[in-house]
């Protein structure tokens, strides 16, 4: 009842979070070898947010839920883990979470 009708916050607390977001996770691999790629910068267009893939090519983050979400995958580590072409993906009609299986082409 409270959460449906009233917004409140404790004296020394924060506002409540009624916002919607989406959990974006996925794996980045090489198109040619199928191996995971570490150190790929995964960023959200028009947004400060970014994350890097780990040793297994995995990444995950929460971000605003919007009608369209453009996510970019960019190799920025100057060949430390191979060199790959940048790729953009535009997501639409996203629910609470999405898993992206991204394959990058060799440069």
């Amino acid at each position: 009842m409270t959460s449906a009708l009233f917004v409140f916050q404790a004296c020394y607390g924060t506002p409540q979070d009624f916002g919607l977001d989406v959990f974006v996770e996925g794996r980045v691999t090489s198109q040619s070898t199928g191996l995971p790629i570490k150190g790929i910068k995964v960023s959200v267009a028009d947004h400060l947010q970014y994350e890097y893939t780990d040793d297994e090519g995995l990444f995950s983050f929460y971000t605003d839920r919007r009608e369209q979400l453009k996510v970019s995958f960019e190799d920025i580590d100057a060949g430390d883990n191979g060199t790959f072409l940048k790729r953009d993906t535009t997501l639409t009609a996203i629910d609470e979470k999405v898993f992206l299986d991204i394959k990058l082409d060799d440069q």
Binding site: P15, F18, S60
Partner: protein, 354 residues
């Protein structure tokens, strides 16, 4: 007539809420370490805390006793300074994995762009940062000459994050009350949408400095400032829910005073104590996560919070506003509890006599 009916309806609503006592707001005092040494600190936090940070797994075990959290159930990370925890992003992600939301109260000192991004990535949804004046007054109260510029940076980051429900809080004292208009202009210029004002509770280090506590007339000045600013609608300004303010109730807040401590607000404190808001006298702890099931304690205890009739003592015993106030904010009952520490209503009544 209309006002009386409105009061009656609100009392009924409050009673119903108390009977339901749905938990939708849980403080986690995840650390009592702090990188500042504020003059008004109610918890006497310091750089070298007596307590170790609570291990995340210990907190999660307690959280996992909540089998069906409400849709907007929020865990509020507080301290100390939560950003001193190296694993704060992991804490947030584990909370989100459980279908719950999380937010944080911070002094802003460590809130830089990299931290901002990593917290958003971890699903932070709401944020409160403290700003206690313009540079000189803020630096005085925060006891730190560099924190103001760091808070300024944190504000710039937070106001541009559409995902964050963000507000600023200010502890009003005898120094910064003179510059509230300038602070308001500064916040509006920065793009801040919401600003919450407190007074300082005379507990912890705040008891040692008379400059912390507003006089009766200064308190009325504060209420008038909030009331006037709300009419201008340039920023969502409000008085915190710390106490009952009589005829100012509808002028300084969105809804009437209702201390929800122990009714909708719970806490897990640094030593595992189960209570309500962290600034409440720790002797009101209802159990401890290291020996009790959190959910069972929430459902079956909290008698002193849900039946406030014990507060009808001291100056509250004969007060004509008691039914609307119920002994003011719960955190104003400390020590021997023979009387409420501060009565905002009385301060206003006194000020109006002058």
């Amino acid at each position: 007539m209309f006002s009386s009916l409105k009061k009656l309806a609100f009392r009924q609503f409050r009673k119903s809420e108390t009977n339901l006592h749905e938990l939708n707001y849980l403080f986690w005092e995840c650390t009592t370490r702090c990188n500042l040494n504020c003059l008004h600190c109610g918890s006497d936090c310091s750089k070298d805390s007596l307590h170790d940070d609570m291990p995340l797994d210990d907190f999660l075990a307690a959280l996992d006793t909540i089998k069906a959290p409400l849709k907007h159930f929020t865990v509020v990370l507080t301290g100390g300074e939560p950003l001193l925890r190296k694993d704060i992003e992991l804490c947030g992600r584990e909370i989100r994995k459980r279908g719950m939301k999380w937010s944080m109260v911070s002094n802003g000192h460590l809130y830089d762009e990299q931290k901002h991004i990593s917290l958003l990535n971890a699903g932070l949804g709401a944020l409160t940062i403290s700003l206690d004046g313009l540079k000189n007054t803020h630096s005085w109260l925060r006891n730190n000459s560099t924190n103001f510029s760091k808070v300024d940076r944190a504000i710039d980051l937070a106001v541009h994050a559409s995902r964050l429900n963000f507000d600023l809080v200010t502890c009003v004292n005898t120094r910064n009350i003179q510059e509230l208009k300038e602070i308001r202009d500064y916040l509006i210029q920065k793009g801040v949408k919401a600003w919450r004002l407190f007074t300082i509770v005379p507990i912890g280090r705040a008891t040692q400095n008379p400059e912390m506590v507003l006089s009766d007339s200064q308190f009325k000045e504060l209420m008038d400032f909030i009331s006037d600013s709300r009419k201008q609608k340039a920023i969502d300004i409000k008085f915190s829910c710390e106490g009952f303010v009589g005829s100012y109730e509808s002028k300084v807040r969105d809804s009437s005073f209702f201390c929800r401590a122990g009714i909708n607000i719970g806490s897990i404190l640094i030593d595992g104590s189960i209570s309500a808001c962290p600034n409440i006298d720790r002797r009101f702890a209802q159990g401890n996560i290291y020996k009790d099931n959190f959910q069972e304690i929430w459902q079956s205890r909290y008698e002193a919070f849900r039946d406030r009739s014990w507060t009808k003592r001291g100056q509250c015993a004969d007060c004509s506003s008691y039914k609307d106030c119920l002994g003011n904010g719960f955190h104003y009952w400390h020590g021997d509890k023979k009387n409420v520490l501060v009565c905002h209503h009385e301060k206003l009544e006194n000020a109006m006599k002058y």
